[in-house]
């Protein structure tokens, strides 16, 4: 009796220890690259003659401790989270939608372009709802060409989505300078401005608009769909092995088109959140370029739409605080790009080391191991 209990206890303990070990392992693999990137970034700052401790201190001040810092960061999280949720859908299917900026900007431009007129014609709530839908539709439409080329001819979607981004940015500008231009405003072409009281309401007691709630709901929803539904399973199968998906009788082209459209739609929502919540208009040549900086976070979170939330929070702080830090250090605000690139590189390397360890092999490459062995034997 006590034997059984002891065994059971032992199993539970072992299971718990295993789970802790797995969690710790995942933690190291996720947080490690960020720490390494911050250290390497500090070295670059030093080389440029800037004080890295001051720089990082300014990031913390600007992104968290300054009066509006934390609220600004949470506000910035809304579009980033929506983009991350959208990327989880396609990346799980092993599809590279890198046309994020084009889908985002076009949706934002359309929302800003028709926003004020629609708001005057319809009750505020209905107008805002329609604008969210419009943004989703625009984002989805902009994925059709790359999705079709991928589904039909297996053309590499990385290239086509990037091309569509460059086109989308210019199309958005054409609309802003043409049909959507509001001539009553400044000399720089821009759309009409949605009045502040007509935009998304703030969460009571803060200056954070409700877009963050929409984004969090979207993350939970995406997580549920990807882990608990047949559609999610199909996408996972497609991502794991397209040939297996075909043998299962799944229509791979249709899955490609649908997952592309879903991700485009959610990225469109990100555009709506930024315009309806923060700006109220779009100026010509405005491009926050959120796209590629979200990509590494989605991988760090192991394609998990819930786990991505803390990473996005960190990115939002880096992005908001980075503005202040760059201004004080008299540098362009592109340090974030370096950091994100470094995170990706270190992530790839960490992944490699982890894989080696899992296989029971050494951290060293085969060639190095062979070389070391040779040296040991004189």
């Amino acid at each position: 009796m006590s034997d059984v209990a002891a065994t059971a206890e032992h199993t539970v303990a072992a299971g718990r220890a295993g789970r802790f070990a797995a969690l710790g392992d995942a933690g190291i693999r996720s947080v490690g690259p960020i720490v390494l990137a911050l250290v390497a970034g500090a070295a670059i700052l030093l080389a440029l003659g800037r004080n890295p401790i001051e720089f990082y201190g300014d990031i913390v001040e600007g992104g968290i401790t300054r009066t509006t810092g934390l609220q600004d960061s949470v506000t910035r999280m809304a579009p980033l989270l929506l983009i991350a949720a959208a990327l989880v859908v396609v990346f799980r299917a092993n599809i590279w939608n890198l046309g994020i900026d084009g889908q985002f900007l076009l949706a934002a431009a359309m929302v800003a372009g028709v926003g004020r007129d629609l708001d005057r014609a319809l009750p505020n709530g209905l107008a805002l709802g329609l604008l969210w839908l419009l943004a989703a539709a625009v984002g989805a439409v902009w994925t059709i060409v790359p999705a079709f080329l991928k589904a039909r001819y297996q053309v590499n979607e990385i290239i086509t989505t990037l091309m569509m981004t460059f086109i989308g940015i210019n199309v958005a500008n054409l609309f802003i300078k043409g049909p959507f231009r509001d001539f009553e405003s400044t000399n720089v072409p821009q759309t009409s401005v949605l009045p502040v009281e007509q935009r998304l309401p703030d969460i009571p007691g803060t200056s954070i608009h409700v877009g963050i709630v929409v984004a969090l709901v979207a993350c939970v929803l995406v997580h549920f769909v990807m882990t608990r539904t047949a559609f999610g399973l199909r996408l996972n199968v497609l991502g794991a092995n397209p040939r297996a998906a075909t043998h299962f009788g799944l229509s791979v082209p249709r899955l490609v088109m649908v997952s592309f459209a879903v991700s485009g739609a959610v990225i469109g929502l990100a555009g709506a959140a930024e315009i309806l919540g923060v700006w109220g208009y779009v100026r010509a040549d405005w491009n926050p370029a959120f796209g590629l900086i979200v990509v590494p976070l989605v991988f760090l979170a192991r394609l998990n739409a819930i786990a991505v939330i803390p990473f996005v929070a960190l990115l939002a702080v880096l992005s908001i605080g980075g503005d202040l830090a760059a201004r004080r250090a008299d540098l362009p605000n592109d340090f974030l790009l370096v950091l994100v690139g470094l995170i990706l590189l270190f992530m790839a390397v960490t992944e490699y080391l982890g894989r080696r360890r899992a296989l029971g092999a050494s951290y060293l490459t085969e060639g190095l191991v062979a070389a070391l062995r040779r040296r040991k034997r004189p």
Partner: protein
């Protein structure tokens, strides 16, 4: 439309197309080498940018254009070393590493530009080599046959690459590394070494392309100045199915559409700049839609080679 086909318009178009086409040509030529060997080098944009920055700085501080070009080649190869070690040697994901290198190079060159080149210096006009005789051809002779020496060198490189692919063992090895790496391994040639050389060659050519863009094309360095040229070059290499002469055709056509704005201004035709800016990308998409099924990619493209795995 008659005013479109004037001499000045054609000169502006062709000369501008060559100016914008040569960096694309160099980068696409490099990309076709690494694609043949099975490495999809998404970091090309980063190689061009760092090549542009370092090349420009080299030319600026040394006072010699050639030092700049050499520095650009070195910078491109520096980025390529990361690609070679991480992707070829360690077998990490080529796309993740490629994006990482491009992002890091974008951020780094912008930071360096903001921290060091605060005065926004410019280089003087570069020395052109005029081919006697041919440059006397009416209308286009002057604009086509009076170029920087690098342009002629590039054409030489195209022919060399064609010969390399077509009639050398090295070319055969490259192709095998991309199509059937296990066969190359069985034949006793190192897949890793072959691919490493290919990636380094890509870096050198991409860096040279970026340096040309900065030194000859713009005469200065601007952050993000490649503006997607690296990605266009990847598409050109794909569509040309890694055949050097088609790379030339593609690069020059896209180069011309990049320069249409200037040429149209010369002909005093007003087209919104946004339309002109997206033309090269639009052209690529249209070509892909029309000829997409014919885009050639080696069988083992993007896959790391692990000996003994199936």
């Amino acid at each position: 439309m008659s005013k479109v086909l004037t001499e000045t318009f054609l000169t502006a178009l062709v000369a501008g197309g060559l100016l914008a086409g040569v960096p694309l040509l160099l980068a696409a030529l490099g990309e076709s080498i690494s694609e043949r060997a099975g490495v999809l080098n998404i970091g090309l944009e980063g190689m061009m940018l760092l090549g542009g920055y370092v090349g420009f700085s080299g030319a600026l501080y040394s006072g010699f254009t050639w030092v700049g070009f050499a520095a650009g080649i070195g910078a491109g190869m520096f980025v390529a070393v990361f690609m070679a070690v991480l992707c070829v040697r360690l077998g990490l994901d080529q796309i993740v590493v490629g994006i990482a290198l491009t992002l890091a190079a974008e951020g780094l060159t912008s930071l360096l530009h903001g921290a060091i080149l605060t005065e926004r210096p410019r280089l003087g006009a570069v020395e052109l080599v005029t081919i006697p005789g041919l440059s006397g051809i009416p209308v286009l002779g002057r604009s086509v046959f009076s170029q920087h020496l690098v342009v002629y060198l590039t054409l030489g490189l195209v022919i060399f690459t064609w010969w390399l692919f077509r009639s050398t063992n090295a070319g055969l090895n490259l192709r095998a590394a991309g199509d059937k790496p296990s066969a190359l391994d069985a034949a006793g040639v190192s897949v890793v070494a072959t691919r490493t050389w290919a990636v380094l060659a890509t870096g050198a050519l991409g860096g040279l392309g970026g340096a040309y863009l900065a030194i000859v094309g713009a005469g200065t360095f601007e952050p993000f100045m490649t503006n997607g040229a690296g990605f266009i070059a990847i598409v050109i290499a794909m569509l040309a199915r890694a055949r050097p002469f088609w790379v030339v055709v593609g690069a020059l056509l896209i180069g011309m559409s990049l320069q249409l704005q200037t040429a149209l201004q010369v002909a005093s035709i007003d087209v919104p700049i946004d339309v002109v800016n997206m033309l090269p990308f639009l052209a690529v998409i249209v070509v892909l839609l029309l000829f997409g099924r014919r885009a050639y990619l080696p069988a083992a493209l993007g896959l790391p080679y692990v000996r003994g795995s199936r």
